[in-house]
């Protein structure tokens, strides 16, 4: 009896979770495997379109005889590369229609024209013509004829399903001259974006944790960049930083801080002189990182604030009794209490920044030294339309992420052991 109860519980559980599990499997897990598969193939964007047999129907009236009509089908193979096998054709006609001359490949029964065209090679084209007349001599309405569309079917090879594998994509990705630069850019973007957002998160959380008028309002405002759509924010920033008539450049020129406008998003390097040392700063990358920080520090803020509010007040009261200064209180009480949150945040933000595509894509499109790995996935896959290469780059992302997570947890595990 107990056993059957446990069994029904199991069954119920599987029924309840099945839809969600199936969907997640189909849309998230399966594509990851598919990605591995594609990354070992030479596939281009044009290859993934399945070749289709197509027909364009043109209705022509025959002069002086309204009861007769000529129909021209412009047949073609949509693919320039692949053959289509066993093409079949079907079209319906009004009930009073009779065919004049039947093509040997076709059959006309029950007012339906069925044809078997056999195999179509790549780029195949044919003008297929039939003449119809009505059996009762009535006039033909062209509109009725135009409204029905022919149906075509055929089978073809799917380049994705064959088993020709190659290591070419990975060779190209890993031994490309720009690969090191790509990795460095991604690393700078990820690391400084993460670090900056956490620092600003600590500052703002510390700030909002104090009592002041309009505190709840301030908390909402701080979350605005995080909840607003990225498209709107990116274009606003672009407009703000525009070199020709952007607000920031105009302001700086107006106050005579700079003489010529700076193209913050379109200039790869800028020479900076600090204390007599000249060095090159990657300007566009820095701007993109600034946007990244601006947009994502609210998340760090939210996390750290929640943690700050959970710190027992007695700790601070005891510190006051001991005569600790505000700096001492921050470094000796607050900071140790929030390190755990910060390390989790660091991991989460690092992973997400590493995969971040939209922000850079919308701001610079990957130009002027801001090409990160995710941008490269897009450029390889869709701009150069080499799907295989794009997949290979995204495999690199996955492997790097797994490595990062592995070392991160190892390091974290060690520290937990030590404590």
């Amino acid at each position: 009896m107990k056993d059957t109860l446990a069994n029904t519980e199991k069954k119920t559980a599987y029924i309840l979770t099945l839809p969600a599990v199936t969907l997640v499997f189909a849309i998230i897990l399966f594509p990851i495997f598919a990605n591995v598969w594609i990354s070992f193939k030479e596939v281009e964007l044009k290859d993934i379109r399945i070749p289709e047999p197509r027909a364009k129907k043109i209705v022509k009236s025959i002069s002086k005889d309204p009861s007769k009509i000529k129909i021209l089908y412009k047949l073609r193979n949509s693919s320039l590369l692949q053959e289509i096998r066993d093409v079949s054709f079907q079209d319906k006609f009004p009930k009073n229609f009779e065919i004049e001359k039947l093509d040997p490949r076709c059959d006309y029964q029950k007012y339906t024209l069925k044809c078997k065209f056999g195999n179509w090679p790549a780029k195949y084209r044919e003008n297929f013509q039939i003449v119809f007349g009505t059996n009762d001599g009535s006039n033909i309405d062209k509109k009725v004829l135009k409204s029905t569309k022919p149906k075509l079917n055929g089978s073809s090879d799917n380049i994705l399903l064959n088993t020709n594998f190659t290591l070419k994509n990975f060779k190209k990705v890993l031994f490309d001259n720009e690969f090191v630069d790509l990795l460095l850019t991604t690393f700078y973007y990820t690391f400084f974006g993460t670090l900056g957002s956490i620092i600003f998160g600590i500052l703002t959380a510390q700030m909002v944790n104090q009592k002041f008028y309009g505190r709840t309002f301030m908390r909402s405002v701080l979350l605005f960049p995080y909840v607003a759509p990225v498209v709107a924010l990116a274009y606003t920033w672009e407009l703000l930083l525009d070199p020709n008539s952007g607000t920031l450049n105009s302001l700086l020129i107006n106050y005579q801080v700079i003489e010529t406008p700076i193209n913050l998003l379109g200039q790869k390097y800028i020479n900076i002189n600090i204390l007599g040392f000249d060095f090159k700063l990657r300007l566009a990358l820095t701007t993109v990182i600034m946007f990244e920080i601006w947009r994502y520090f609210p998340l760090a803020f939210l996390f750290i604030l929640a943690r700050l509010q959970a710190i027992p007040k007695e700790l601070y009261e005891a510190a006051d009794v001991d005569g600790a200064s505000p700096f001492q209180k921050f470094f000796n009480i607050t900071l140790p209490q929030i390190t755990a949150v910060i390390s989790i945040l660091f991991m989460i933000r690092f992973i997400w920044n590493f995969n971040k595509f939209e922000d850079v894509f919308l701001l610079t499109g990957g130009a002027s030294g801001t090409r990160t790995l995710p941008i490269n996935v897009y450029q390889q896959g869709f701009a150069i339309s080499d799907i295989g290469m794009g997949s290979a780059v995204s495999m690199v992302i996955v492997v790097l992420l797994l490595l990062f997570m592995f070392f991160y947890f190892k390091l974290l595990g060690k520290r937990v052991d030590e404590n």
Binding site: T17, I27, I32, A34, V230, T247, S325, P374, I397
Partner: protein, 397 residues
């Protein structure tokens, strides 16, 4: 000690004064005033003088009179004699100075003698500075977005610093950009598509997530722990890795450029976090209620619809809002899957608009305002729910 602290105090306050006056000057410049310089030195000297005088006078004069006297002196010197600027600008300066004097009035010679007093003052003013700085930095782009959408192409090119809006003009001229994007660029349709996709995603996600979360929270079955741990790992998986395989699969199935395709992808990507958030809440519901229901021979469907759902409305609404926000803001998949303007979502439509270099930027900004407003409205209105969603979901973005 006292002298050192007093000097530090006057320095900190002067820098703070420079900062607030500069922000006001920037805002005034953006209203079309011709301010070429911040006059930092003058403000700095005034700041030093005011805060030192304030310390000296102490409470010999009432704060109210003191503030007014200091503010008036500053306004007359800075605003009127040096720059000859309009009245509203000087009123602003007056209010800032009034606020400033009130702030520094809290500190007297006696406070400065106390231990760590400079650090306390430093932190106090840093907080004030932070509040103003972050409000400015965060709100300014939003402010610019809104203002630009009301301007005309010529006005934007002639003086990019003029943020003033002429309210006396015709209602139609003021909202011209909005009329244009609705008429010529079919934004009405895009709003509809975005709404259908987002609301659809919320509904389907909830339908799938509630039973699954219930099973994970309550029932015992093989693979339960595996499932609950893998949820978040799956959620951390990069969307950019899914893009190419999904693109190829969807192309072959003919799901690209369709709302159905987007719905499937959005639901699948938000499901893990929805399940995670819901199961946490379901676990907190007392089990006794369900046990009573089982005695009444309610099926699992009955338990979920009659007991679990009514009891977890707050959690469900926070999941719903969070999922809505993700789906509404989503850009990557809509960029990849939609290339026919008839099936665009709002985000994709704005990106498409910007692709044409000749699109006036005020149209772009009007579109941005339209896509941003609903999210910000929902966020401000349902902040309590959404913040708990954000902290629990935590990893999206």
């Amino acid at each position: 000690m006292r002298t050192k602290n007093s000097i530090l105090f006057t320095l900190i306050t002067s820098f703070f004064l420079i900062f607030i006056v500069s922000i006001w000057k920037i805002l005034a410049t953006l209203q079309g005033l011709n301010i070429q310089s911040f006059n930092l030195q003058i403000i700095f000297i005034f700041g030093l003088l005011i805060s030192f005088a304030n310390l000296r006078i102490g409470s010999k004069i009432k704060i109210f009179y003191k503030s007014i006297i200091f503010s008036l002196i500053f306004v007359i010197c800075d605003g009127y004699i040096i720059q000859k600027l309009p009245l509203w600008y000087n009123i602003g300066i007056f209010i800032i100075l009034y606020f400033f004097v009130n702030k520094i009035n809290k500190y007297s010679f006696k406070d400065l003698k106390e231990q760590h007093s400079t650090q306390v003052i430093f932190f106090d003013f840093l907080t004030l500075f932070g509040i103003l700085f972050f409000s400015f930095v965060i709100l300014f782009p939003f402010y610019m977005m809104l203002i630009t959408s009301f301007k005309t192409q010529i006005a934007l090119l002639v003086n990019p610093l003029d943020f003033s809006i002429n309210f006396s003009q015709d209602f139609k001229d003021l909202f011209k950009s909005y009329f244009v994007i609705f008429k010529s660029y079919k934004f009405g349709q895009y709003i509809l598509t975005s709404t259908i996709v987002s609301v659809g995603t919320v509904i389907i996600t909830l339908i799938f997530a509630i039973p699954a979360a219930y099973a994970i929270a309550r029932l015992n079955f093989f693979g339960k722990t595996f499932m609950s741990t893998s949820i978040l790992i799956i959620y951390m998986f990069p969307a950019i890795v899914l893009v190419i395989p999904l693109y190829t699969i969807f192309s072959q199935l003919g799901l690209r450029n369709s709302i159905e395709g987007l719905l499937i992808v959005y639901t699948a990507t938000t499901l893990p976090v929805a399940i995670y958030m819901l199961q946490g809440y379901f676990k907190s519901i007392p089990k006794e209620l369900e046990e009573a229901a089982i005695l009444d021979k309610l099926s699992w469907f009955g338990i979920i619809t009659k007991i679990i759902i009514p009891l977890s409305i707050p959690a469900i609404s926070s999941v719903a809002l969070y999922v809505f926000m993700i789906a509404w803001n989503e850009f990557l998949f809509s960029l990849m899957f939609l290339d026919n303007p008839n099936s665009f979502t709002l985000s994709r439509a704005i990106q498409y608009l910007s692709g044409d270099a000749e699109t006036p930027r005020q149209y772009l900004m009007a579109g941005s305002v339209i896509v941003t407003l609903p999210v910000l409205f929902i966020f401000v209105y349902f902040e309590k729910y959404l913040v708990s969603g954000l902290t629990a979901g935590s990893v999206k973005g």
